[in-house]
Symmetry: C2
Subunit: 482 residues, 2 copies
């Protein structure tokens, strides 16, 4: 520890006690690496405040001491955004003890949750009052509200409900000088200058530590159904989506999967079978839900709406779930893709988005261009067509050594993919954020005015680089991190 | 003109010609005052660029010369945000020549409109392709897209569609150094750092000049109906709203009007009559729409949903429109309030919001407290209950002289009202923005950390105060403007 760190830790320990401050290496170790093990960091102390006031006091003292703080929620991020620097220059601050749901207001369809509330706990609490919080993702058992807000998380229901940004009605955060931004009161109309709440959403803890959020709730689902549809191409899939959207707003998910990808699942995941008998170049998984018991049943609705799709030649074949178990079986196929692909060898995975209208072309041409440029690789995309967001995977040639391929050709492939995304006007980070993983690529691929604006904002809020330094954007141009 | 201004205007004239640059006082005069005549300014030149490139070139040259620019759209603002400073230090830049709809994509439910496109023209263009842009307000025949984005405009459909912020899928803007923020591509998921588009929405032209926006379209309305309901109190009105919201998402407007206010309309506006025979303390105007010809007719839906409201004692009486003419007649009552109140003498009007749940209490207690504190005044609120946004009017005591009352007691009343709003966690500007009118009140009533953050952002983007100086927030604390 530097003298400044030692002083700070001593002061914090005296003030808040061992519950809030630990320097025990064993206690700290699990939080020094991201869950995929791709990033490693170091931190001489782990701070676990239990309230906004404690966070504010910690940040004020850290700012005065010039010691940076790295905030961390469930540590489920994909881009190393919550992993502290390897040089041990920063202290780690965990929000996990701030796990209270401060209020649950079903009448107003609002909940106020502290940063450390785990997503699945919020789901359960909303369910108990006949509501739901309609954002979900694989890590829901660990991911926290603070992290979800700070990364503007997406997930599988973005098509209908938008990302976290759409679901946040207010934010409370501790700013880099230790002052508290109190923006929890949900105002539907509020034009008092620049929207600080919007700025804090997706800022990855670099402008403030989100300590609580007011969140929008929706009526609970009473019934759902899924359709599995065989289509000729992603272009047809998009036409099908547009046709459905024009007639109903009950579609929550619209996932596309190429035949080859489905084949990997069927080959490698025991107990799976294809929902359709024949062969189709592309597959679509559609989920529709009902929140009103008196409304048309989602299965009947899907059947009715898919009929004209057959007549219009958009769908080749389809099966509609007859039970909740069958809905689960359909989703199991979709959710097993990453695991099945892992069995096939090393792959570069890209979380990208392009305009929805352009996604079918990108899927076909982008995969072909990648395979041409890197012979022996297999490129494919699957996922949320309706959001313009797909997981674009490029598998190494057979027999490639994982470590050396990732560092060599794999790295070059990612740059190639990101270049294509930028050429299509898209985003090199659809939902995972920038963190440390994509910071240099963001700088390489953005207009200088954009990077200048990001830097200006960071510099204005956090001139001494106290909060999550080195993530999202560097304060000044400098030597690239490897 | 200062020497710097003279040089700049000469350079601009040589480069762009008289179509873009005028110094003719008669041409400039109409744009030097806001439409209500409350603010007056001066400007030695009016610039009317026809393209984003021209705006960028103008701003770059102005920045180099240190001459500020005040952007102006339809000049329909309520807070003096588009009126140049009175000292003639800034040039006026009108976006009115940038009036192209660059693309209309009904399949994708998107339109790309330049800043100078007039709102009603966008409505018409969307209507031609079977879509609508669901934001409307009284000034729709003059208000422009650039101004609507820059003020995060609201209007009468916010209940269902949100403010402009919810309807903007992308923004193009010229930043204070003349660089172009190209954020028009509509990406549903994009986590590439701080959201600059969100920051530019509602920034009142102080961070950038919005030159175009990508806007969300919705299916055109095929039918609408309105209900006029008599209720006992705004509390009952809110319960009624919650009951309706739980059963349908077709409610576009939910306006509350106190009996006394309706009485003024009936007394002063020829040809009006009360929709209900009996006396009711409060009145509610509800509009429901259908976009699908096969859906339940809005009138039948309102009738069906209001039935249990009677049984629950929420509604005392109701009438449902039998024709489009009757819908118009209902709205005419609501739209005539401001005119009718003007006939009664001078009044202070406040555009405020509080949390929806607290609005009924605020309406009753806020009016009573104001009348107690300022004997002889009449206070009342009407408007968008579902948004937590009402127009809170306080009428002068009978016989008050308008000019001296506005400057004296009127001013004190506004501070009193804003103090109550802040105590309720509300906003002193629900939809009109800050401009020059509310800048000092915003500074007085905000947490210092909030004002510091606003200043930091302004300073980071526009350190030389080139764009719309003195609006929204001052760059540094200083002597208050009167």
């Amino acid at each position: 520890m530097t003298p400044a760190q030692t002083n700070l830790v001593d002061t914090l320990r005296q003030r808040f006690g061992p519950k809030v401050v630990t320097t025990d290496a064993e206690d700290i170790a699990p939080w020094l690496t991201d869950w995929r093990g791709r990033y490693r960091g170091a931190a001489p102390a782990l701070l676990s405040p239990g309230s906004t006031e404690e966070v504010a006091a910690i940040v004020a003292l850290a700012a005065a001491a010039g010691v940076p703080i790295v905030p961390q929620g469930g540590n489920t991020g994909m881009v190393g955004g919550a992993t502290p620097p390897i040089d041990g220059s920063a202290l780690l601050l965990s929000t996990r003890r701030m796990n209270r749901i401060r209020s649950m207001l079903p009448q107003s369809n609002l909940a106020v949750a502290e940063a450390g509330v785990i997503l699945s706990n919020l789901h359960a609490a909303a369910g108990e009052v006949g509501r739901r919080f309609p954002l979900s993702l694989g890590a829901k058992g660990s991911a926290t509200i603070g992290g979800l807000v700070s990364t503007n998380a997406g997930g599988v229901q973005v098509l209908r409900f938008g990302t976290m940004r759409s679901l946040v009605a207010g934010v409370e955060a501790v700013l880099p000088d230790g002052s508290v931004h109190d923006g929890l009161v949900p105002l539907k109309k509020d034009n008092r200058g620049y929207d600080l709440t919007q700025l804090l959403i997706g800022a990855e803890g670099t402008l403030g530590i989100v300590t609580a959020a007011t969140l929008r709730l929706y009526p609970a689902i009473v019934q759902r159904a899924a359709a599995w549809v065989g289509v000729e191409s992603p272009h047809r899939a998009l036409e099908l989506l547009r046709m459905l959207e024009a007639q109903t707003d009950t579609i929550e998910s619209f996932e596309v999967i190429p035949a080859e990808t489905l084949g990997h699942v069927l080959a490698h995941v025991p107990g799976t079978r294809s929902p359709l008998d024949g062969a189709h170049a592309w597959h679509v998984l559609i989920e529709s839900v009902a929140t009103d018991p008196a409304a048309e049943a989602p299965g009947a609705l899907l059947e009715r709406l898919l009929m004209p799709a057959f007549e219009a030649g958009l769908a080749e074949d389809a099966v509609i779930s007859a039970s909740e178990a069958q809905v689960e079986a359909f989703w199991n196929l979709r959710d097993s893709i990453s695991g099945a692909e892992r069995a096939l060898g090393p792959a570069m995975q890209h979380d990208i988005s392009v305009p929805v209208d352009d996604m079918p072309r990108f899927l076909i041409e982008g995969a072909a261009a990648t395979e041409r440029a890197f012979p022996g690789t297999h490129a494919s995309g699957f996922g949320h067509l309706g959001d313009g967001n797909v997981h674009f995977h490029v598998r190494a040639p057979d027999g490639a050594d994982a470590e050396s391929w990732y560092a060599g050709e794999g790295h070059a492939i990612s740059s190639f993919v990101y270049d294509m995304v930028v050429a299509a006007g898209g985003s090199i980070s659809a939902e995972h954020g920038i963190g440390q993983m994509k910071r240099d690529e963001l700088e390489r691929l953005s207009a200088p005015s954009r990077i200048a604006a990001l830097r200006a904002i960071k510099g204005a809020f956090d001139p001494h680089n106290i909060l999550n330094p080195g993530k999202l954007v560097s304060l000044a141009p400098g030597p690239r991190t490897p």
